[in-house]
Symmetry: C2
Subunit: 288 residues, 2 copies
């Protein structure tokens, strides 16, 4: 049975979800995290709802087997099309990245015009629009799929003329609509935030759902009485023991699993997470 | 049991293998074909040998269940890293696209300098180099991975300034080596043949392994006494019956299966194969 000391499960189609992990590490530094990246079947963003749901269900079963106390779907595509189904089939408290992102955007906009960029599946699901208009009846939401952003990021072209050109094409039709808020609706996109910001101009606020997701996760843990507090649990130990214990905890605190290419993942992860990243293990996710 | 009238199985990680199917249709117009595209797990080109092999084995089991008489691995990545393993585990005659491509290149070069472009996995496997130097001891083979070509093709940017720019970057280091022959070592690449040709210049011959693969398939079928001849089988039927029979055969001759996104696949396939493409069905390939 999961308790306060159990880890938080976080998953994504690949590496993008690490931008969410980074934010959880910052805001909930005492929590343990188990991350799963589905690198053998990445990307999800151009696959069908059925396939994305089936893959996500397997990952939830893997995380359940690892006794997580809560699950963060750190993938916009899976949050958009699979989260409802996942919640039906599991007792573990769960949050996605779409709702938190929608909330910030609805709070941020002044002129009521919000843009959302993401994968084909996320954008065509229309889910950001549904959440935002629930919170702000007058808001207009304009979506634009940017399918080449993920491969460009994965190739490391974060600051590059080609990425600029592709971004200009994708974003030009959003600029003319007069949006004042733009949601980075894919966990890869914060990595090209500066390119997107440059093209959209200073008057458009970029929303990265990762920060708000970590905040909502904290609320969820408090509400479910699952928030871990290191002091509470360990204050009874003598000082020396505490020290040795902390060392062991550090080793074990962040665990990363992928379905393929552990070495490649490790390299990329080290560029996103500067602290606490130790190693990645392979899981045959089709068995779950 | 498979016999002369049984279909040929062809597979790829996605849609690229259709350029090989097109060539088989042209050269062996009487044969039936079952195609499988692993669109739920595409791409293969940046995944590990273990994963590509496991996926390919599942597909071979699916094709075996469909009683194919021969299998064409119409994916350079799978041909490069999985074919040996697949052949060990199946009695069905099998060919890949690497060996045929290597043969044409070895025959084509005049100055012995051959370039090969492909996915990361294909290029880093060094397999083209091994086959070519076996055929031509003096040949030098220079490989260059072009990981963005597949997403650019899948986004339909076949004639586009961005594809030109990316191609110029990838190919510039091949141009300076003085190669006179360049293998299009990924089944997606024939679709941007004109861009590659323009940049490499007239003096460099581009080799598309698809044509030679279809030729080798024919030889394999002859050798295994599995070549289908419509005349031989149907000449005994009266004329009217033959006509009705041909109609039914036409419907059934080409069957396409994918692991995801049948509609999207259909649209793309129709742009590659002008004739005989009817529909695509979904298969849950993880069950094989």
């Amino acid at each position: 049975m999961a308790d306060k000391g159990s880890p938080i499960g976080v998953f994504d189609s690949g590496i993008g979800g690490l931008t969410v992990v980074r934010e959880i590490m910052r805001q909930l530094p005492d929590e343990k995290i188990i991350y799963f990246g589905d690198t053998a079947r990445v990307p999800y963003g151009n696959k069908s709802q059925e396939t994305v749901t089936r893959y996500s269900e397997q990952i939830v079963r893997f995380l359940e087997a690892n006794q997580v106390k809560a699950i963060v779907v750190a993938c916009n595509t899976a949050s958009a099309v699979a989260l409802d189904e996942l919640e039906k089939k599991s007792d573990i408290p769960m949050i996605g990245v779409v709702k938190p992102g929608a909330k910030v955007a609805a709070d941020t906009t002044r002129n009521g015009k919000i843009g959302i960029i993401g994968t084909e599946v996320t954008v065509s699901s229309g889910i950001y629009s549904r959440y935002i208009t629930k919170l702000n009846h007058k808001a207009t939401v304009i979506g634009k799929a940017c399918p080449l952003f993920v491969p460009l990021v994965e190739e490391g072209l974060l600051h590059d003329a080609v990425t600029d050109e592709i971004a200009r094409r994708y974003l030009s039709e959003l600029i003319v609509t007069g949006i004042d808020t733009l949601i980075l609706g894919c966990t890869h996109y914060p990595l090209i935030r500066s390119t997107v910001g440059k093209i959209m101009g200073e008057k458009v606020t970029l929303v990265n759902p990762a920060y708000e997701t970590a905040m909502e996760l904290k609320e969820l843990l408090v509400r479910s009485r699952l928030l871990y507090s290191r002091n509470e649990t360990e204050s009874k130990l003598p000082n020396e023991t505490l020290h040795a214990n902390e060392m062991a905890l550090e080793e074990d605190r962040y665990r990363f699993y992928v379905s393929d290419g552990a070495e490649k993942f490790k390299k990329f992860a080290a560029s996103i997470i500067k602290y606490g990243f130790l190693s990645a293990k392979i899981v045959n996710i089709e068995e779950y």
